[in-house]
Symmetry: C3
Subunit: 352 residues, 3 copies
């Protein structure tokens, strides 16, 4: 399908600079901008590409001031990235969802599946499972007994959901996600042997949650591990037993959150961060990549970094000194030498 700059600007409420009749039929990155495509500029790092781009339409932020002439028709919007998202979503919606249940799937007789489902071969759906409307479940996904799933859920290939877990509406679980595996709970006996603590709880995932590929979410020992609505979790993240993640918190790849820690709402946790167990993390906390969080965070809106983590600014300032530590040490030794010299001098004087 082709759209003119005018049609697009109307849809995203933008202002056109250039030819409003130019047409595009695809998207491209600004550094690869192809004729007949729409591109966007959001991250200033990529500004230099706008002058050479062959894209016919480029979305830009309202406040962008070009330094050189731009060939493309520009559409100015409040937030170019958000407007792009809106257009990509429109394009995605044009692709019709598949429906139909494969005869090569295994679906327990006691399972209930809502209308509009798409279920691929080799999907396993256990006893007393209930799944809402318009589910898309890809090959080799496994949903164990008593799992309850809402409407409009997408479960990619090879997802494994253990028994008794709940998943809300509009959730997406990417390939290889594991939900409801046993928490890591063992009681050590005097002879060094570890005895398993049965993990009898479950996992509750609320509405509008997305979980990235090969991420693991353990079931609670007692009660529930809870992922609140709107949470977005990246790939290869570990969520331990009895953790609770607050609404609209985002967690980047390879982060690990230890048992029973409660993370607040609207937090941002960057990649490879690690949180100790039994903590409370205040709302809107921001945790930098690879940080290790040993203690609870009490005040909302703090920004933390380091191992162990401290205030981001403090960490950055200490890191600058760290780089030059050998020089600092040398200077201290030199001062010591000078002080001793002066001492000797003044002693000699006194002895004169």
């Amino acid at each position: 399908m082709e759209f003119t700059a005018r049609q697009i600007a109307d849809y995203i409420n933008g202002d056109i600079e250039g030819n409003p009749e130019v047409k595009v039929s695809s998207f491209s990155k600004i550094e690869e901008g192809k004729p007949g495509s729409l591109s966007f500029l959001s991250n200033p790092k990529y500004s230099k590409y706008i002058y050479e781009s062959n894209a016919d339409i480029i979305l830009i932020n309202k406040d962008f001031v070009p330094e050189f002439p731009v060939k493309a028709t520009l559409i100015r919007v409040e937030n170019a990235y958000e407007s792009l998202a809106k257009l990509l979503t429109l394009a995605e919606q044009a692709n019709q969802r598949k429906t139909g249940i494969s005869l090569q799937a295994f679906i327990s007789e006691t399972a209930e599946i809502g209308q509009g489902a798409y279920i691929e071969p080799f999907v396993y759906i256990g006893e007393n499972v209930s799944i809402g409307e318009n589910a898309s479940i890809y090959s080799s996904a496994s949903i164990a007994e008593n799992v309850k799933i809402g409407d409009n859920v997408t479960i990619y290939a090879g997802v494994k959901i253990y028994k008794d877990c709940f998943i809300g509406n509009n959730c997406t679980l990417h390939a290889g996600v594991v939900v409801g595996s046993d928490g890591f709970g063992f009681a050590s006996s005097s002879d060094g042997i570890y005895n398993k603590i049965p993990q009898t709880g479950n996992v509750v995932i609320e509405d509008n949650v997305e979980i990235g590929a090969n991420t693991t979410v353990d079931r609670a020992t007692l009660g529930s591990t809870i992922i609140r609505k709107g949470v977005k979790i990246d790939n290869l993240v570990q969520i331990a037993h009895n953790v609770e993640i607050g609404e609209n918190t985002v967690i980047a790849a390879q982060t690990g959150i230890s048992g029973s820690t409660k993370v607040g709402k609207n937090c941002i946790i960057a990649g490879q961060a690690g949180l100790a167990g039994h903590l409370h993390i205040a709302d809107k906390t921001i945790i930098a990549a690879q940080s290790g969080i040993p203690n609870s965070v009490k005040n909302s809106g703090e920004i933390l970094m380091g191992y162990p983590a401290i205030a981001l600014r403090d960490f950055q300032r200490s890191s600058i000194v760290f780089k030059k530590l050998p020089d600092l040490q040398k200077l201290v030794y030199e001062l010591k030498r000078q002080i001793n010299e002066q001492k000797d001098l003044s002693q000699n004087k006194n002895n004169e």
Copy 2:
């Protein structure tokens, strides 16, 4: 099923404080303690909840001294967490194991499977595989040729075991675990191209091992990667080729152990730690979260932390100074200024 406080105290050898006839039929966390349930208090962080809990029975450690009156009947035991484990295990055992082999599983004609097996649809069992008694194997698990597995093993959905590996009795592999994938072995040639070193060994997992979801254990180049009996491994852990993990060692989530490293017995390795290759780690070593271990650990019982790791206490003391490094640097510069001032002064004096 309902049990009285008296029945429970008898089973776990505890002392009752309060009404011995009160009955419970479920478990709950102390902070959610529901009427009709049994709860427990082990971590002192949660002590405050005991006074408001609606649980009817609460397990506590012998030495716990309440500061306020407690409504629930208390059962005092040596170790509340261990006693809870005992009760949860009893409750789990009341759930009968499923048995039966799905016709939708693929089982090679040359495979041998012991009595009492439960095998779900889409399980793949290759040639010459042998599996002991009472195995539970969940959907889409894949067990390649010549794998030998002991009795009472649980293999969750989507576990992949490569050919020629051994797994002992009473082992549990959680969903998505990979056992026996190729070690990361390549020889670089002069033109920068890497040539694969075939990984012709296998993985040997001894008895009573539990491995967490999506953890990977690579096969040896030659010989075996070995996980000794009683080892417990959490989710998303990487065990490289030719590694050996000693008896009853526990490894928390997202830790990585590089090739050919030998970890001793009864070690505790916290989350996201990394061990370099070709190391020997002494028995009972404790490694803190996110630590990077570059060298072998010779003395048993050391506690290490840091990147690179040093003695925990040293790391903690250095970390405290690290936080204030800019102040230290400032002070050093100030001392330098003062010394120069004094020098100038004394020179001036000498010149007078």
Copy 3:
């Protein structure tokens, strides 16, 4: 099959020391060296084992000088590890590849599969997929619509490839790998809710790439995430959307590379490293384990370590001082005391 030392030396172009007629039929590690086997010594850490090894033939580097007599026949070569690789490869090739397509696989009518394929049960191959010759695809692998795959590819059990991705010739994807999952792209709205940016691009994997178990490679938002030819990636690695990895770069386990970062050719990235987004990493960069890379690397051949990463040598020197920071702090305070003392002294003198 048995081979004499003479036959083996001829094949790998080595020089024999000892009996050229001794025969071996297997491989063993030098520390376990079994009679009738061939072993090798490459890492000097293992030199001590050569004197006791019962292996009948041992490959050694040309420049190795034994300190004691060695029982085994030695074969001296340029690079013992490379020669071992050559022999192991020969042995592997003697194992005939399986062929045949299981009737219990699901293969779309519109898919095209080249000659010589081996496809296990429960493999899912979607619409318009094309796969070259001699593919080996293990159980429960899932290949979605429009995926194009080259010749001689091995796809282990439970690999999941999303739609529209490309995979070149001679690639190996280990069990649980996910290729083409959605990048982690969300635009936050003013109320804290995150709206998904559809990830409409794909993943392109060039020839001779190997990817380790449970590694995830996200599809691009627009355009392609690209893994160039000869790249080797270990287990549990995260490759985010729009990343590009240059030719013959190797990436060890549990490393994460954030969105849109371009890594050069012939780089070596050790385990658990993390790279921020939108960076350019020069060719031949070496990144030490657990390093955090916040900025682009402009000069080829740099070696980096730390969090945040700096030049390896600087990090090591600073780390040595870090260990003794409390002592340094103490010394600074002591110098301050002495300076104040001297000041007081000289003031007193002046006042006298």
